[in-house]
Symmetry: none
Subunit: 185 residues, 4 copies
Amino acid sequence: MRLIFQAAIDAFSERGFERATMDEIAAKANVAKGTIYYHFKSKEDLFVFLVEEGTELLRETVLSKVQSQTTATAKLTTVIHEQLQFFQDYKDFCIIILREAFGEEKRQQDFRRMLVQYVTSIQHIIEEGVETGEFHTDQAEPVAWSVFGAISITALHHLFANDHFNLVSLSPHLEKVLITGLHTP
Amino acid sequence: MRLIFQAAIDAFSERGFERATMDEIAAKANVAKGTIYYHFKSKEDLFVFLVEEGTELLRETVLSKVQSQTTATAKLTTVIHEQLQFFQDYKDFCIIILREAFGEEKRQQDFRRMLVQYVTSIQHIIEEGVETGEFHTDQAEPVAWSVFGAISITALHHLFANDHFNLVSLSPHLEKVLITGLHTP
Amino acid sequence: MRLIFQAAIDAFSERGFERATMDEIAAKANVAKGTIYYHFKSKEDLFVFLVEEGTELLRETVLSKVQSQTTATAKLTTVIHEQLQFFQDYKDFCIIILREAFGEEKRQQDFRRMLVQYVTSIQHIIEEGVETGEFHTDQAEPVAWSVFGAISITALHHLFANDHFNLVSLSPHLEKVLITGLHTP
Amino acid sequence: MRLIFQAAIDAFSERGFERATMDEIAAKANVAKGTIYYHFKSKEDLFVFLVEEGTELLRETVLSKVQSQTTATAKLTTVIHEQLQFFQDYKDFCIIILREAFGEEKRQQDFRRMLVQYVTSIQHIIEEGVETGEFHTDQAEPVAWSVFGAISITALHHLFANDHFNLVSLSPHLEKVLITGLHTP
DNA sequence: AATGAATGAGTCTTCATTCAT
DNA sequence: AATGAATGAAGACTCATTCAT
């Protein structure tokens, strides 16, 4: 079961949902193909399960660290840092996120809903910052997506451009852009 | 040819490279399947051609407007505005960009190379701003990707969340995050 | 598996490698098309496997009978007789042999290599006969191919000219030409 | 027209009737595909025309030389020599002969009929030899096919085994086998 | 006479899913 | 619980042939 799970992450991230085959996953997991169907109703089912677990883990991992921070600024800094760390640890999963989150398929809509949950948490941090006077914006939603998009795409680019890049080292530069702003004070 | 081109954009953006079928594209274009193969060597070939044209158009559209600006700040503002406008005009293509830009397939690598060209142009603007003293950062590359990622993902989210959303209205909020910074002055 | 094998021999000999279709073979074998692909990687793979088995069988069948003969003359007579018998028993396969043995495709080269093995065995018999003084020639290779060619083409012609022709009855006439010679003593 | 003819021989011998494409032939002939259809009704038509011309040429070439010989032995020797020479000169065509002469397709039957004409001429020589007392056999037909088969297959083997082999040098060895016989006198 | 863009029927191949064991 | 042989629907691609120019 854990073997199948891991094999699926592997296969889906390496080749995407469509190109990954059940044979491939079975081989990676060292089980017979039928065994996968014993545990999961379908390929889609396996994929959705896996994505659910993944986004859940992302949310928990990042937000648990956030809670111990007091200021909104510190919280947002933590989000940047922890999301980078997560992408580093689960490179494969991070690829899946951006590859399969946009589209009209039911599965993609479900997936987007999970993502929205996560980004909404970021949005709450920003709204909190606005209330405390730390941040300044009147539209927290696009800002939250910008934060998420900036972190994700930057991470993804560096992962593909440079196999063993240390994503966390990007942290200060992302803080610079997203929190301080590019403008010279 | 133009019919095939348009049909392909349609199909690929609606269902992604894998799920879109040549039959589907042929039907949308109102030509026989063989006709597509008369003009393009393969599904992949058609896709690559289409993506090349698209990124080329994105680069030209955005950068032509940028050139008339004098300050780096004005240029970056223009990038944000024009890229949003482009995503609005070519919604379908913008979906393709993020869906198919990351992966190990040759096609995806080619695509990434084109994207890098575009983002490098953004990077140059930022470097220019650092030289003129407008901007402050010592790592223009991740910053450029952050800018691109923030715009793209935010645009994509709003396109899927709200069919007829006016993307350009996001412009000021993205400028706020990316240029001014979230922090209250 | 045996069903597929037999169906393939049938189809390939009836219509040749190119014209025979996997649908046809599947239908003849009474299995789903996918089943063939479960056992063989491709049409080519199936064909090569089948040809390998066939030439192997030809060699074994003919040469096992040859071994019990003592003189080279008796051995060559046996080759003629047994090869005719084999062509009679495996008419379909004998058609394949001459149809697909010459050409530049990899498959045809592989096939030729197998054929060469068989003909080399004939060549050894001739060389043996030369040593014992029974035969007289200084170039055993073309002689061996002549023997093989004479038997094969003659058999093939009679098979096509006359559906139920008894090939083995050709034996004495082939011996006459190939061993005794046409010339009146 | 001559260009198309030559291109077709090229293509058909290189890749066989099925694999050779009209596009390929058109390209080799440096004409548009439509032009071929202006001159020939179909691919089959082109092929049949070409094979007819070829066997016709083979028969004429070989038999014209034969006529000037007086004894049956000399005639048969000439057949061997001239057919080898023909195969040397028209290597490509000789490949086609054996590849496409056996099968149930109408075209293959037509083709076989042409071949039968040629081999019948050989048969007549043998019958003549029997009458003059030069040869000894009571079944001229299989003998004639043996002669044809021995020459053809031996030639074909040497053509594929050795690109620039001089086929005519095989002449004495084939005479040895087919006329004198292998047996030591 | 010659062209070459367009066609669509026909093939190979893949792969998620099922089911008897 | 687990297996893996069998399935067949679906999809990419090929290519002989046509026809308007």
